[in-house]
Symmetry: C3
Subunit: 267 residues, 3 copies
């Protein structure tokens, strides 16, 4: 499989043109920054979490992003209902298992979501991905970085069992399915000092999956765009505050030339 700047940019243009509705059931911390990132890339974010309306909201959406970052009971019920409806309707579901491994509640919820309503794409850091499969993996908080290498095997098994794409993000991002793996080496260290950029990556997976039928390519596109916007932002930012702002600006401004110039992808 070959990923080119032209392919990625074609997807960005599709998002900007079609402005697909991306329905997010996500955590309180990142709702604002997630919505802003989706708007900056050209999508139409909606946020709705009430059991009374999630199915109806899914019906007007082109992708559903579920993020377990600040769980509670009613929200979990809504996540299941929305995921079921999304699968029934045939739109892609993206799961971000924030903090899986950190508490039993998160690990259990993420695993049950995957078992009952397998998503098209799962995106997390190495320890979160490992916690989806292996009880011995333990997160140090939410940002932990277990060895990505150790997580790749787990990701491959998850992918095979649940027929989904798994994305492990970190200094190098790995996009994995049962038969292939792709590495993206874009991004910048300073991004880890801004809250919710992982969650933004998952939301962008939703935006790209809304316009690109193959979840693998959608995840690659999203992670490449994340990393490139982050690099561009880090170059002009004084610190994490301005990085967050420049990042949104570059999602909006990104050209095919920016992608050609900066893309670092390996298979």
């Amino acid at each position: 499989m070959k990923i080119t700047a032209a392919e990625i940019y074609k997807s960005i243009e599709a998002i900007r043109r079609e402005s697909p509705v991306v329905h997010n059931i996500t955590n309180y911390v990142v709702m604002n920054s997630t919505a802003n990132a989706l708007l900056a890339i050209g999508a139409s974010p909606v946020m709705a979490h009430a059991e009374e309306e999630v199915e109806e909201m899914v019906n007007i959406a082109s992708a559903l992003v579920i993020n377990i970052g600040t769980l509670s009971e009613h929200w979990i019920n809504s996540m299941f209902r929305a995921a079921r409806q999304a699968r029934k309707k045939g739109i892609p579901v993206i799961l971000d298992p924030v903090g899986a491994g950190a508490t039993t509640y998160r690990t259990k919820t993420a695993r049950e979501l995957i078992n009952n309503e397998p998503p098209a794409i799962i995106r997390g850091n190495a320890s979160e991905i490992m916690a989806l499969y292996d009880d011995k993996a333990r997160t140090k908080g939410v940002d932990s970085a277990a060895s990505a290498d150790a997580a790749i095997e787990i990701a491959r098994r998850l992918s095979e069992t649940h027929k989904c794409v798994v994305c492990i993000s970190g200094a190098t991002d790995y996009i994995i399915d049962k038969e292939k793996i792709m590495k993206i080496k874009n991004g910048h260290q300073l991004m880890s000092r801004v809250t919710g950029l992982g969650c933004t990556a998952s939301a962008l997976c939703g935006a790209f999956a809304a316009v690109e039928k193959a979840p693998f390519a959608a995840a690659v596109n999203a992670m490449a765009v994340m990393g490139i916007a982050g690099e561009m932002a880090a170059k002009t930012a004084a610190g994490p505050g301005s990085l967050q702002i420049h990042f949104l600006d570059y999602l909006y401004l990104m050209s095919e030339d920016d992608i050609s110039r900066l893309l670092k992808v390996e298979d």
Copy 2:
């Protein structure tokens, strides 16, 4: 009716001087940006949504802003209780029917709030306003822009039935009551790529209504200030990330001269 820069600025000065408490029961996505916009213009935002305390919080407030952007059951109960108390106490209620038309739950909640506790000002985009009256209006997500022209007639009817001011925001903002209409042509396209600026507009209606007895003038002032700050911000912003930041700066910095220079109002 004649709106002048001097009148608008007098209201800004009143807000800066009196720092009125604006009580917001609003959605998770925009709480932070709403609070920041209210602080930047000079008001004192409070956020409180528990049934146990909303009435008491209303009692120390000069305006109440209800925004249905991320509904759930307990929040709806609190919205009704707070609105009732605000009307009893005689402070203006502003309703932002975010996503009305997108789901039955939102449409129903917004209509019931209007029927039972008619607000002083309703502010939404064209499809949201149409959904308050007409079952045939359907939102494509939350940002949808049905023809503003088609919504004006609905707004006029709502205004007549419920004795309230209706503001339809979009490229042109329309402030409508049963006998008059005013158009504001400030603002900038890039504002639609920042989440929650509509919600901010509703919150500013609250701040202006807290210092200006006539809801119509308060809504005109708020929409003019929104649009002017947005234009000034767009001029210096690289994209939607920096626009959001500059917008807050200009709310804080806005002078009478800025308003004179930029105000584009028509009746």
Copy 3:
């Protein structure tokens, strides 16, 4: 007691090196900005509020920050459970009684938390602190500034009764325990036009208390760093929007020299 720039900077270095997990049960308005401030200074924020997981999350944390800014019933239960677990485990608890005095619900909750699970540090503005002890103190909203002088006596009594450090923030910050008082005169007026900087101060108390055993010194360090970052940010900011961004940048960039140059502390 003598506070030096070298001591403060040593604590910053410890945070940057150890990246302590700070567990926040905080309000919706500031979750994002709080997490960003903790990341900028070098800590690892986690947010979790479900009764099902708070105790387990406390177990991987080095400090717990409880902020009552947007209360509701389930959250209160979780606050008590988390605080109990934190005390059992021996990690510092920081309480931010946002809006105490504004409603009975907040005043009661804050007082019960203090009586049942005395925190290591309480940080609030003058009227909030007074409301913790005296029914006659009344807040005008959340930002109210009762006379700091009048609050110092209350703080001292709270400190004595509950064996905790009390921090009254305002133009001058007072850090108080039963036998000493320290004043920090850093900060800038424009900071009061950005939402949640008080909440950020409490979160930074958590980060500093995670690496510094004495709560008094931790609170002094946190308030000094807040004020210095705020002053640096105000110098380069056009208004409250950019102040918020520069503030995060300076938390990240702050050097020992910045502290030496700007620290204004008195005992």
